[in-house]
């Protein structure tokens, strides 16, 4: 959940939302509360088509949708991509949140033209950006996204427990959840929610310990890693210590992991 307040001023308290731009193209990854301020910025640009790729539908990754300004612009088009289901369409599943009693505005009432699309099996393009969605280990159908453009690759796996029930160090790459997403990525944004002490009490919750994140990043050969999806109970000081621990553990090639902070802008 979102954790704004004096204890998270340096790191930020919004839930997951990342904007990716390249050569004038844009894709938004996940729609947590961070989508609200992004939407206000995008609204300044007037009518446009916007693509949002959802890794999964846990509330912290979609709760920004109801407050996304372009949804209320009749001249805007929004395409929502997400994981498929054999039981309900993406629209039906998202509408469980964007409907009474949880939200006062139904999808059908939103002035913008909104389309719901299952992320395809295999690569696809959005405005020249090449995307791939791969299922990853997390409760419920969950994707990691890989975005490539001009020879650089961004790997986005915000919720991930690749070491569930197994020692990640002992696995070959073909058995590692999320490996195709992160393989040799220029930048990897990966779940690093728990300390090594916290994880044993949270096995199966769908998130990684800091040591598992470091191991995964090293095995995937990511050129750079950002520690992502901070635990709501962790303060700025906790997260700084978290990052220091990751850097202590780092034995891979390239620079050690850094902490993701709200508002970061990174050029690849």
């Amino acid at each position: 959940m979102a954790t704004p307040g004096p204890e998270t001023v340096r790191t930020g308290g919004n839930t997951t939302c990342v904007e990716v731009t390249a050569n004038g193209s844009r894709v938004i990854l996940d729609a947590g509360t961070g989508l609200r301020p992004l939407g206000l910025e995008l609204a300044k640009d007037g009518p446009q088509k916007i693509n949002i790729c959802l890794t999964h539908l846990h509330l912290d990754h979609i709760e920004g949708l109801g407050f996304f300004a372009p949804f209320y612009d009749p001249d805007c088009e929004v395409a929502l991509w997400g994981p498929p289901s054999s039981v309900r369409t993406l629209k039906e599943r998202v509408s469980r949140y964007l409907s009474a009693p949880l939200f006062p505005v139904e999808v059908a009432q939103m002035p913008a033209r909104v389309t719901f699309l299952d992320a395809p099996d295999g690569p696809w393009e959005i405005d020249g950006l090449r995307l791939q969605a791969h299922p990853v280990s997390h409760p419920g159908t969950t994707f990691g996204y890989r975005i490539e453009s001009d020879g650089v690759a961004l790997a986005f796996i915000p919720d991930h427990e690749p070491a569930l029930g197994l020692k990640l160090e002992s696995l070959t790459s073909d058995w590692i959840s999320g490996f195709p997403v992160a393989d040799g990525a220029t930048l990897l944004l990966h779940d690093s929610q728990y300390t090594e002490e916290e994880y044993p009490g949270r096995i199966g919750w769908g998130h990684s310990s800091i040591s598992q994140t470091v191991t995964f990043a090293a095995k995937a050969g990511a050129e750079a890693t950002l520690l992502f999806h901070h635990d709501p109970v962790h303060t700025d000081d906790d997260l700084d210590a978290h990052c220091e621990r990751a850097q202590e553990l780092w034995q891979g090639d390239g620079p050690p992991p850094e902490l993701a902070r709200e508002g970061m802008e990174i050029t690849l």
Binding site: G165, W175, P180
Partner: protein, 136 residues
């Protein structure tokens, strides 16, 4: 020839989770992928198969079946398609039965087996999981 890791096809999440599940159970289990390759069997299964998975490695399921020389309980040989695993693969439905195998340690065993197909959320077929245990 053993494939290098880079040459091996990335396992689907369904198979990854199936292996995680099997590796944490005391019940003998083997897993085959949609290409009919044996991709894993757990330690309890090694006791019945008579060889470890590390020794066997990933092999075509037909080769695995030939190694174990399955027979009906009356001693008649069974084709792969007549075994619960073969049925689950071919017909894409669960199947159960008793049969005899000769483990790779040369010991003949009567086993009961239950096999079921693995379908992902997108209804794609990923392979089969087979639970088997030795009957007294």
């Amino acid at each position: 020839m053993e494939q290098s890791v880079r040459q091996r096809r990335q396992k689907s999440l369904v198979l990854i989770l199936a292996r995680e599940f099997a590796s944490n159970l005391a019940t003998p289990i083997y897993i085959a992928d949609a290409d009919e390759r044996l991709v894993y069997f757990n330690e309890p299964a090694e006791q019945i198969a008579g060889r470890s998975f590390a020794e066997t490695g990933e092999i075509p399921i037909r080769e695995w079946a030939e190694m174990l020389a399955p027979q009906a309980t009356d001693g008649q040989p069974l084709q792969r398609e007549q075994t619960p695993g073969g049925i689950a693969f071919a017909v894409r439905r669960p199947a159960h039965g008793s049969l005899c195998i000769t483990g790779l340690d040369g010991k003949r065993r009567e086993i009961a087996t239950t096999a079921f197909p693995l379908f992902g959320p997108d209804e794609e077929f990923h392979g089969i999981m087979v639970i088997f245990w030795e009957q007294a």
